[in-house]
């Protein structure tokens, strides 16, 4: 009886110890994930919004003629802030059948748009293609939020 009681007591103590360890490790894991976690993934929605903006303004008169002559004309016509695109994790790429190109942002996204990794890794961009007439458009976004002091 005494020995059975001792075994039972030891078992209960081990169980409580394991339970405490599980709780502590879960809390640590949750804390690390919440602090360093990837956050809410809006790359696809943002790319779609960017492409919509570009599509709408590309329907204007002399769009192709103007954008290949002067980069800043594109941003004025399309009401897109140039600094945000050039300094952020975006790409706007436009080309025509003669090989003329206009782009702003991370040029390498043209390659990364083809990687399957983009579906799992938010460091890779989500991309949209669209062609109309002589012009083809590519919009991509991998923009991330930033922790700031406030």
């Amino acid at each position: 009886m005494n020995s059975r009681g001792q075994v039972l007591g030891t078992g209960i103590l081990y169980f409580v110890y394991l339970l405490m360890m599980v709780m502590i490790l879960t809390g640590l894991y949750g804390g690390i994930v919440s602090f360093f976690g990837e956050g809410y993934d809006i790359r696809e929605f943002e790319t779609r919004a960017l492409m919509n903006s570009v599509k709408e303004c590309s329907e204007g008169i002399n769009f192709a003629r103007d954008i290949f002559v002067n980069d800043s004309v594109f941003f004025e016509r399309c009401s897109i802030e140039e600094n945000v695109i050039s300094e952020g994790d975006y790409l706007i790429y436009i080309n025509d059948s003669s090989g003329k190109e206009f782009f702003e942002g991370v040029y390498d996204y043209r390659i990364r748009c083809g990687f399957d990794e983009r579906n799992k890794n938010i460091d890779y961009p989500k991309c949209l293609n669209y062609c109309s007439g002589d012009l083809c458009f590519l919009a991509a976004s991998a923009e991330k939020s930033r922790r700031v002091a406030s």
Binding site: G37, G39, Y40, S79, E81, V84, R147, S150
Partner: protein, 110 residues
């Protein structure tokens, strides 16, 4: 166990991005309102003034959402517009909710 897990970074990240998406899809003259009741509840719990929860910087096209003292989360919007907003109040929209109300305007050029 749950007290070790902090949801504030997730909430701040979510709302900063949602507001940015709304701005990016809006044309000048659009008035928008987003329910931030959950965000306000967390800010109150953390001692953060609700009025200072959401800040929009039109110079750098940046939205900052903060439910904690001295830190927050920011995200940019690419739409070349200015955003005019009222600080969040408790309550607003209805007696049970808090809303963030803002208007998208054409960029003022000097």
């Amino acid at each position: 166990m749950l007290s070790f897990v902090s949801f504030e970074p997730f909430l701040e990240d979510f709302y900063a991005k949602e507001i940015a998406l709304l701005i990016d899809g809006a044309t000048p003259g659009t008035n928008l309102a987003i329910d931030v009741t959950e965000l306000a509840g967390v800010a109150v719990k953390n001692g953060k003034p609700v009025r200072d929860m959401i800040n929009i910087d039109n110079v750098n096209n940046k939205i900052t959402v903060s439910t904690r003292l001295n830190t927050g989360t920011s995200f940019v919007f690419f739409n070349d517009v200015d955003v005019v907003y009222k600080p969040v109040e408790l309550p607003s929209g209805s007696s049970q909710t808090s809303q963030f109300i803002f208007e998208v305007k054409a960029r003022q050029r000097e």
